[in-house]
Symmetry: C2
């Protein structure tokens, strides 16, 4: 038993493409970024849930390098308490064992004496009962402080065949139980038995352990994972900014880590496993059916987000942003609308949305890759119209941010400021552009756009010309290291 | 028997809101304008069908005043033979008796000696077998030349309960039969009997008669209709342009015409009625189900127009312009997509789409009134984006056309030419704007936009300001009689 309480560091594991949530989830807009009815994303909810735990001073986030900007933006937008952010950036997803090994090894390397506790939380879960969550975390932290590798086991609420189960064993004091065994996704009969029996719990994918304990268990049961991760970390320098620390895992060495889950690598092999039984009002928002549950149903069982008109329709889920959706004489449909793609699915088959997404991936369909809106280091833009002769974008530039100094061979660009103030560099000249003013950049002219103000700059860009591909850009200077040429 | 063959004038009756075809049909975009798979509208198909009849030199069209511009544009686009166009414009729909009475009286007034034959054709029908149609018209014209009021009776292909029927009587030579009686929409059992019996035909709503014969029958059976129509015509001057004649029916007097169909007013009362039995591959495109039949079905019975991805879905009809529609595990749905409204309906209930449209009408919902695209005398425009601070339109100005000389109090306008050449009047100054160039009109400045060129002028307009309503416009001069103020 130890006397001093170690620091508890929530570590949000923000992965998962969420292809079953297409067309809202895309390759460039994975599941943690999906927004719910209250306009908070799943990632923001996970961050706030972690931030509200007692004693939390910093939050680690493990995510894909591509998602760095949006992840920071989303966390900053809700980080009222000013918690320190520590990002570990994966060049590609390698499953949970390398991710959590990297988090533990990174901490242990920096703070060997402190041996903090890590609370691994998937970014794409919802938890309705935060008090129960805090109580469960407290128990898990005590067990983890004693060297246990703790998994949170959720009391089943239905005979679910899509999750792994944990059979709980003997009690460990008042806080938890030994793990008798891990059980793969069962068939329906077995799931019914588990639900009735009371000894089986859903494997939540949430864990708690000390950095040292995880590394010791990895050293014993998955030494190849630990070695690969340590080798990668040795070639992955960290950088510290005002409000966050970044450590990008070196691509080639991270690619050598075995693709294995923490369950296989450690939990099923270690003698230190413990399970904390809990009831959290938990949901994994795995598909449109579980997401629909987050919206209230009307008298006909319909759940609607957006403008809809229903006639003799029942038990439907409708999500629209901006367009009117009219439904007539239909039951049990999920209708999910986005500006460039629409899904109409039987709600009983929402698991198969993944197969649709795979077919789009095979076609390399734009509606699989990205939305019409894209995040950039300097802000974001949305394509409003795209035609053979012109493309129109709404561009938002953050205060103080600049696009690169650039030139296009084939298109002229027309900028109209609809909110805020722009500083436009035109060849050698610089000038301010105020709200309701516009300017014109002919093809071949070097130009740059900045926001010198204190509020967002919103402008409409109309590109016109014979070729409008995103690859017609020559960058001379860039604040974000993207330039290919010197001026 | 007469010896000289009178002229046959097709008279297209272009009415019908087509609310069962919402969201493609709108108040400002009625059914005759709906385009089919070959990108021809129903009106264009009706025009071409009429134009291809032997001996046709001109085509009359009876339509709503609001539809004048688009009707002319659509007919001109397919009028390769340069037929003369004669438009009778109704200020409001008053059913078929006043419309056809006006057409007959208008012709008789102009050409009393010629007594031409009128062939009344609804604009919203499809006819697959044009040879059979031409043969039936030939028979009808012979009967009409003998003073008969002829209705085309379609051999039933199913036990339809949605149409009126005609019971055919004794033969009139080889061309037609007497009308034994007209039958209201029957119940299903009666319709089955009609289908089996062979004496009953669908009332097609297509008629043929001489102008004088119709006026005589009206004088006898519906003198109030004829009197009201003649009174209206006396106050409705006609005008002749290069390619068309226009006669706008005077609003107040036309409003006094009884709202009655030609069936009630004449056909069910006259002794001159005759029916020509025909089989034309006819469809009235009454709802999405009948429109769907115009598209070929794949092996699963799905009929698709646009970009769609289907998984285990059957007998669906999908119409999309631009967006991807993915369907999963659904059967027998009609999914009709437009930029601002989407319909998802059980195909068996397409008749009830009308009820949805009525509810939108009650709400005065924009998606009931108009599309994001609008026709104007000078061309057309489409709203690409609409936000609190800006509105973006794609504007197409016809060669030689001008918008009004105008001024806005609250918005500035930015114009970017993406195709063609614009002449822009800016206060006192005029200047040419070429492709890929732009200009800026500040709020309060008098301006005008013209297309001096020989091809369409396409430009992107970005409006920005605090108030962007269409009513913020002061017109000083207008080529189309819309100005409210002198400069």
């Amino acid at each position: 038993m130890q006397t001093q309480i170690p620091e508890l560091i929530p570590c949000i594991v923000s992965g998962g493409a969420g292809t079953r949530l297409w067309p809202v989830s895309r390759q460039a807009f994975p599941k943690p970024f999906i927004r719910l009815a209250d306009d908070q994303s799943l990632l923001q909810k996970a961050f706030l849930r972690a931030a509200r735990l007692p004693g939390v001073k910093r939050v680690m986030i493990i995510t894909n390098q591509q998602a760095q900007l949006r992840t920071l933006d989303e966390c900053r937008a809700v980080n009222a308490g000013g918690l320190a952010l520590e990002l570990l950036l994966e060049p590609e997803g390698r499953n949970t064992a390398p991710a959590l090994a990297a988090a533990a090894a990174d901490l242990l390397e920096r703070e060997p004496a402190a041996n903090p506790l890590l609370l691994a939380l998937p970014a794409d879960h919802l938890i309705a009962d935060e008090a129960a969550f805090a109580a469960a975390v407290e128990k898990a932290a005590r067990l983890a402080g004693d060297g246990r590798i703790v998994v949170f086991g959720l009391k089943p609420s239905r005979a679910e065949t899509g999750f792994g189960y944990i059979e709980a064993g003997a009690a460990i004091g008042a806080d938890g139980q030994e793990v008798a065994r891990f059980v793969e996704k069962p068939d329906h009969a077995a799931a019914e038995g588990y639900l009735a029996g009371g000894r089986h719990l859903w494997n939540s994918g949430m864990f708690c352990f000390s950095a040292a304990a995880l590394c010791e268990e990895l050293a014993e049961h998955a030494p190849d994972v630990l070695a690969a991760v340590r080798d990668c970390l040795a070639h992955s320098p960290a950088s510290q900014s005002a409000d966050h620390r970044l450590r990008a895992l070196e691509r080639e060495r991270f690619g050598r880590c075995p693709d294995i889950s923490i369950d296989y690598a450690v939990m099923e092999r270690t003698r230190a496993a413990a399970v904390v039984r809990c009831e959290l009002g938990w949901s994994d928002i795995g598909n449109w059916d579980s997401l629909a549950e987050q919206f209230p149903a009307d008298a006909d069982g319909n759940r609607v987000s957006g403008d809809a008109l229903l006639r003799d329709s029942h038990d439907c889920f409708i999500q629209s942003r901006g367009r009117l959706i009219a439904m007539l004489g239909v039951d049990n449909l999920a209708v999910v609308d986005t500006p460039d793609a629409l899904l109409v699915a039987d709600r009983g088959r929402s698991q198969e949305v993944r197969e649709l997404a795979r077919r789009l991936q095979d076609q390399n369909h734009p509606a699989w890759r990205l939305h019409l809106s894209s995040q950039r280091p300097w802000g974001h833009y949305t394509v409003l119209a795209d035609s053979e002769r012109y493309k129109i974008k709404r561009i938002v530039v953050k205060p103080g941010a600049s696009l690169s100094l650039q030139m296009h061979h084939h298109r002229s660009e027309h900028w109209i400021v609809v909110s805020g103030t722009a500083m436009v560099t035109h060849g050698q000249e610089e000038r301010l552009l105020h709200t309701n003013e516009s300017t014109f950049i002919p093809a071949g002219e070097t130009h740059r756009l900045s926001n010198p103000g204190l509020i967002d700059l919103v402008l409409i860009e109309v590109q016109s010309g014979e070729y409008l591909g995103e690859d017609d850009i020559v960058r001379f200077a860039d604040d974000y290291g993207r330039s290919e040429a010197a001026p």
